[in-house]
Symmetry: C2
Subunit: 312 residues, 2 copies
C-alpha cells in the first residue's frame, strides 16, 4: 500500500536530496519564450481577453486546428483586434472551418494547410506542422509561395521522417494548448493520449494544456522538481492531482504535497488516486513516479489575470 | 495490430451470433424506473429546465452531494419550482454547502446527512447513502427521527458491511449522475475511477454520467449489446468513443460502428484509441472487450429535449 503522510500547510523542500531529471518552473508556462506556440483547438476559448492577449504576446506563433480558427475569429468582437491577432497557420481537414472564417483569414494572408489524411486528427496534424516549423525555418517560407495560401496535403507535413528530425532538433519548444480538455469526452481522452505520444515522439516539446479550471501536463518517469514561490502556491494554485492515465504505476516519492506519498501504488482500477491534493512546499514540490503521470493544477484565473504572472 | 473495418453508414447487427452478457437499451437511461436516483455533484447543472424536470420525474429519488445542493437551489429561479424539486438527501462533509441553502432545505424537511470521514469523497459518501436507501427501506425512516434532520457520521452509512449487503441485494438500481465530468480534471478522473469501483463493489448499480456533451458509462468485460433504433442513431447520437482508462486492453470484436475492430489492442500509452467513431447499426451495436472500458456517446441535447425520449 505504501506510505501516506499528512503535512503541515507549509514546508520547505530540500531538492538537493534528490536526483532531479527534469525541472519545471510553473510560471514559465505563461512567460515569454522564443520557440513557443499557442495551439487553439475547436472549443470555446474560455479565458478573458486580457489573459488571452498576454498569453498570445508571450508565444512566438499561434496555430489553429481546423475549427479552432472559428473560435479565434469569434473570440474578438472588433475587427481591429481580429486583424491584430492572426494565426500563423490553420491546419486540418477543414471539415469544421466556416467559409466566412476561411475567407477572412485567407484575405489576411494566413497560411491555411489542408490535410485530408484519415489516420491522424486535426490536433496531430497541427503538431506536425508546429514541429516542422521549429525544425526548419524554411518550411513556412516554402509554403508562402503557394497560390492562395492553401496547401493541400502538404508534402513536408506528410513526411514521416520529420518526426525523427524533431528528435535530433534538441532546442526545446514550449507548446500551450487551449481547448484540449472539456469538449466531448473521447476528445478529452484523445488529448491525454497526445500528451504521452508527444513525450515519446517529440521529447523536446514541453506541452501544457490550459483549461477553464486548471493546467495539465505529463510528468515523465523519474524525479521532477516543480518550482514555484510561496506566493504563487497561496494565491494562484488551488487543488492538484497525480493521475496515472496510461495504467497503474507506483509513485516512488513526493515531497511538498499536503498528502505526500512513498512507494504508493496508484491506478484507476485500483481506485487509489492522489486527487484533491495541494501544494504545501514553499519553494516547490518533488515528484518521482516509475511511469509518466498526468498532473493537473487548479488555477485561480482571476489571480492569473491580475498578477504580474506573465512578466519575467 | 488487429483488424479495422470501415462500414457503410447503415448496417444491421445480427446479435444472435454473439454471446451477450449484458444488454443496455440506451433510451432506458432517460426513462422511468422504480429503483432509480439522480445524483447531483457540485458543478453547474448544464441542461434546460425542461430536460431536467423530465429526468427528475423519471427517477425515484434525488441526492445532492454537498455543494450539489447549491446547484439545485440556484438552478431554479422561482420558489414554487424550488419547493417542488426537493432532494431526498444532501450528503457530504458539507464544506461546500452554503448556509442559506442548508437552511432552506432544512426548512423543507430535507434530510441532511453530514459525513466527515476523510478517506472518501462526497461522491462516494452519496453512493453509500443511495446504496443503503435501496438496500433497506427502513434506513431513511430511521434517519427521519433524527433531530433537525441533520445526521452526523451516520452509523449505517459508515458500516462497511452494507456494501456486502448491496451485493446480495440483486434488484437493479439505475443511477444517473450529473456533473461528474467537466469540473477540475482530478475530479473528472476520480469520477472515472468511481465507475470502475461501482462495477466492482455494487454490480447491481447501472451508472450513467450525463455531461453537457455526452453520456458516459462503463462497459464490463465480455459481450454487450447496446440497443437503439435507427431514428435514435440518426437524430440523438453524435460521435462515440471506446476508452480504455484503466490500462491497455484488447477489443475482441465490435459490430455496428463506422469503424469496427477485431482483436484490436487499445491503450492511451499505445496511442491507439477508438475515438470520433459513430454508430451505424440500425438496431444497435455489439461490443466485446477483454477488460471494462468507458464508452462515451455524444448526445444532441436539443433533440433529447424535443423528442419523446423520456416516454416509454
Amino acid at each position: 500500500m505504501g506510505e501516506v503522510v499528512e503535512n503541515p500547510d507549509s514546508i520547505h523542500v530540500d531538492f538537493t536530496k534528490y536526483d532531479i531529471k527534469r525541472r519545471i518552473d510553473i510560471k514559465q508556462v505563461f512567460q515569454n519564450c522564443l520557440r513557443s506556440c499557442i495551439l487553439i483547438l475547436n472549443q470555446d476559448i474560455c479565458m478573458t481577453k486580457d489573459v488571452f492577449i498576454k498569453l498570445w504576446k508571450n508565444n512566438q506563433i499561434c496555430v489553429c486546428a481546423d475549427g479552432g480558427a472559428n473560435r479565434l475569429y469569434e473570440f474578438f468582437q472588433d475587427e481591429d483586434d481580429r486583424k491584430t491577432y492572426l494565426p500563423t497557420y490553420i491546419v486540418g481537414d477543414m471539415d469544421s472551418l466556416r467559409n466566412e472564417v476561411r475567407e477572412y483569414y485567407r484575405g489576411q494572408n494566413v497560411l491555411i494547410i489542408e490535410q485530408k489524411c484519415q489516420y491522424s486528427n486535426d490536433f496531430m496534424k497541427s503538431i506536425k506542422v508546429i514541429s516542422d516549423h521549429f525544425a526548419s525555418p524554411t518550411v513556412p517560407k516554402l509554403l508562402e509561395t503557394n497560390i492562395n495560401h492553401v496547401v493541400s496535403g502538404l508534402k513536408a507535413s506528410n513526411n514521416n521522417t520529420s518526426h525523427d528530425q524533431g528528435k535530433n532538433d534538441i532546442a526545446p519548444v514550449k507548446l500551450v494548448v487551449l481547448n484540449a480538455i472539456y469538449g466531448r469526452f473521447d476528445h478529452t481522452i484523445q488529448s491525454v493520449a497526445e500528451l504521452y505520444r508527444l513525450q515519446n515522439q517529440l521529447p523536446h516539446f514541453s506541452t501544457y494544456y490550459l483549461t477553464p479550471k486548471d493546467l495539465l501536463f505529463l510528468l515523465p518517469a523519474g524525479g521532477t522538481s516543480l518550482t514555484f514561490t510561496e506566493g504563487e502556491r497561496d494565491h494562484l494554485f488551488g487543488n492538484c492531482g497525480l493521475l496515472p492515465l496510461a495504467g497503474p504505476c507506483t509513485i516512488v516519492k513526493t515531497e511538498g504535497l499536503k498528502w505526500d506519498v512513498a512507494n504508493w501504488r496508484t491506478g484507476i482500477l485500483e481506485g487509489q488516486l492522489s486527487t484533491s491534493n495541494r501544494f504545501v512546499g514553499d519553494n516547490g514540490c518533488y515528484i518521482n513516479s516509475d511511469c509518466s503521470i498526468v498532473v493537473n493544477i487548479e488555477l485561480k484565473w482571476e489571480v492569473v489575470e491580475k498578477d504580474a504572472f506573465f512578466e519575467k
